[in-house]
């Protein structure tokens, strides 16, 4: 499973949305109906699954699915 697929599957699990609703440009809050606790849980799921740390100040910059994918890719690179 590549990063895009893994991110999508985590979002589907966490937010209980249909897979085809999760598009790169989808906003977690506006399009996928996430509340603040959902965002915290998603961030923790990303951290666990990709072995990365998402600092609080970055959390606000991750608004869409693509933002999350970009952040994970960059930080996984930084780790390796």
């Amino acid at each position: 499973m590549n990063i895009e697929e893994k991110v999508t599957s985590l979002i589907v699990d966490q937010l209980g949305v249909e897979k085809d609703k999760v598009k790169p440009e989808s906003s977690f809050v506006d399009d996928l109906g996430a509340d603040s606790m959902d965002i915290v849980e998603l961030v923790m799921a990303f951290e666990d699954n990709f072995s990365i740390q998402i600092p609080d100040q970055e959390e606000g910059n991750i608004r869409t699915v693509q933002d999350a994918i970009d952040f994970i890719k960059e930080n996984q690179k930084a780790n390796s």
């Binding site: 606790m37 849980e41 923790m44």
Partner: protein, 244 residues
């Protein structure tokens, strides 16, 4: 009292006093419990041996150290794989009148009673959020409501716990997690045994029910809260009417 079969419960600071009685009572109601202690391993061992039923757990955990807490929760989850409830009971006193109370006495009481409560609840919430259920029960004190000379540190920590309880209840309600506090009045434990006869008499005179409470009174309130599905964000007073 409702049976607590299939409930997996951690009780912090349960090597003696109220915590020990809570653990024994919940085990009697068929819950699986984890006793945690910071340094009194002998008395923790004794409480552990006294528990009815099997599969209980004994854990060393320093509530002032989030790393130690994480390790203890990891062991708990390895053993039970579910966390149904956390009873935040660990607490200490270092009494002294305001003007004589040293920084370190204030700090250490806040660190154990309030910070410890927060650290443990935060760790527990991680698991409970995933499970979409759970209970956190914080042990406060009647003095949070009425104050007590010589206990600025203890009273501040307990009042803090009550505010923390309401905030956590709000934040976690959406995930079906109930957070409540119990505020015991004067209960017969080692903590109150340090008082002399005169002091005990003076306290008893102030209590409308004219007697000290028993740890069992608190343990039964914990079991009651665990059996409720519609109480959250509350502070339940168990104090013989000392504060109304």
């Amino acid at each position: 009292m409702k049976n607590l079969k299939d409930k997996y419960i951690m009780i912090t600071g349960s090597s003696r006093g109220i915590g020990a009685t809570i653990a024994q009572h919940l085990a009697k109601l068929e819950a699986k419990v984890a006793i945690t202690y910071s340094s009194s391993s002998d008395s923790a061992q004794q409480v552990f041996q006294s528990l009815e039923g099997k599969e209980h757990l004994l854990l060393q955990m320093d509530v002032t150290n989030s790393e130690s807490i994480k390790n203890a929760f990891d062991k708990f989850m390895e053993h039970f794989s579910t966390l149904s409830a956390l009873v935040n009971n660990a607490g200490i006193t270092k009494d002294g009148l305001l003007l004589r109370m040293q920084d370190k006495d204030f700090d250490s009481v806040l660190k154990t009673n309030l910070y410890g409560n927060f650290y443990c609840a935060r760790e527990a919430a991680k698991y409970m959020i995933k499970a979409r259920q759970g209970h956190i029960i914080n042990i406060s004190s009647v003095v949070a409501q009425i104050g007590n000379p010589g206990q600025a540190n203890y009273v501040a920590s307990k009042a803090g716990i009550e505010g923390l309880t309401r905030t956590m209840a709000n934040e976690l309600a959406g995930r079906n997690i109930q957070v409540n506090a119990i505020a015991p009045g004067f209960i017969k434990t080692n903590m109150t045994e340090q008082l002399n006869v005169k002091q005990v008499q003076a306290i008893t005179d102030r209590i409308p029910l004219k007697k000290l409470g028993h740890p069992q009174d608190i343990a039964e309130t914990v079991a009651f809260l665990l059996s409720s599905s519609y109480i959250t964000g509350q502070v339940i007073s168990v104090n013989g009417g000392l504060a109304m």
